[in-house]
C-alpha cells in the first residue's frame, strides 16, 4: 500500500475505523462458512462495496505508518494486520481480486 501523510483524524474516528475493520476481519471464518449460502446479488454487493473497506484500511495504514496511533490503537492495528495475514487468501477468493 502506498503511504501518504495522513490528515489529522480525531481519535474517535480512528477508533471507529479500527472497530469496523476488526469487526470484519475477526469474523472472516464465520463469513467464509456462510459464503456458499450467499446468493449472487448479496455476493455482488459485497464486491461492489469492498472499496469502502479498502479505503478504511488504507487510512489505518497511513496513520500507523505516520506513528499517529495511540498505544491501544497500535495494539488493535497489530491484531488487524495479523488477522489480514491469516485470512487474506480467504477474502481474496470471495472477492475474486486482491484486497
Amino acid at each position: 500500500m502506498a503511504q501518504v501523510a495522513p490528515e489529522h483524524r480525531p481519535a474517535r474516528l480512528v477508533d471507529k475505523d479500527l472497530k469496523n475493520l476488526l469487526g470484519f476481519w475477526r469474523t472472516v471464518p464465520e463469513f467464509a462458512t456462510e459464503w456458499p449460502e450467499w446468493d449472487e446479488d448479496s455476493r455482488l454487493d459485497f464486491i461492489h462495496e469492498w472499496p469502502i473497506e479498502r479505503e478504511t484500511l488504507q487510512r489505518g495504514a497511513d496513520m500507523a505508518a505516520a506513528g499517529l496511533l495511540n498505544e491501544r490503537q497500535q495494539c488493535e492495528w497489530l491484531e488487524l494486520t495479523r488477522l489480514i495475514e491469516i485470512h487474506r487468501d480467504t477474502v481474496e477468493q470471495m472477492l475474486g481480486e486482491p484486497i
Binding site: 464465520e30 449460502e37 455482488l44 462495496e49 472499496p51 469502502i52 479505503e55 481480486e97 486482491p98
Partner: protein
C-alpha cells in the same frame, strides 16, 4: 452491453439515455444477506438481521458504520442524493464488467450533490453510484476519496 464488449462509440445521446436510466431506476429491492458484524445494528426503525432490504442495509451502513451521511438521513434523502449525483452535469459516466455483472456507474463531487447538513463526519470528496445493467436497478452509492481507492477493473470504459 455492446458498449463494453464491442467497444462501440457512445454518442452524447447514448450517454444521456444511460444517465436517465440510472437516475430513474429503483434501488435494488431483493433482500440481501447482512454481514455478521452488522447484524443487530439499529438506525431509526431499521434493525438489521440476517437479511435486509438493500436500501435499509446501505443506509444504515452509510450512516451508522461509515458515517458518510449524517444521522437523521432518511432512505428517501439518501436515494435522492444518489439520483442528484447521477444527474450532476459534470458526473463522470463509466461502464465495466465485474463478477459476471455489467455495471454502469457515475462519479460526482460530493459537495455539489449532498447538502452540507446531510454529510457525515466521514464524508469524502467523490460520490459513486453503481447501477446493474442486468437487474435494471441501483446497487449502491457511497463516497470515496480517490479513483485509486476503487480498484476499478481493467476494461472499464469512460463514456463521459
Amino acid at each position: 452491453m455492446r458498449l463494453i464488449h464491442e467497444e462501440i462509440e457512445a454518442s452524447p445521446d447514448d450517454v444521456d439515455r444511460i444517465v436517465r436510466r440510472i437516475a430513474t431506476a429503483p434501488f435494488n429491492q431483493h433482500p440481501e444477506r447482512v454481514h455478521a458484524r452488522l447484524r443487530g445494528v439499529t438506525y431509526g426503525s431499521i434493525v438489521l438481521g440476517r437479511m435486509a432490504p438493500p436500501l435499509n442495509l446501505h443506509l444504515a451502513k452509510r450512516v451508522i458504520e461509515e458515517e458518510q451521511w449524517a444521522v437523521g438521513t432518511t432512505a428517501d434523502e439518501y436515494l435522492n442524493d444518489l439520483r442528484r449525483s447521477v444527474l450532476h452535469p459534470a458526473a463522470s459516466v463509466l461502464v465495466y464488467a465485474r463478477a459476471n455483472g455489467l455495471v454502469a456507474a457515475t462519479i460526482s463531487p460530493t459537495d455539489d450533490v449532498v447538502p452540507a447538513d446531510r454529510r457525515g463526519v466521514n464524508a469524502l470528496p467523490s460520490l459513486l453510484v453503481i447501477y446493474s445493467a442486468r437487474h435494471g436497478n441501483v446497487r449502491t452509492g457511497y463516497m470515496f476519496s480517490a479513483l485509486t481507492k476503487l480498484n476499478l477493473p481493467e476494461g472499464i470504459r469512460w463514456l463521459r
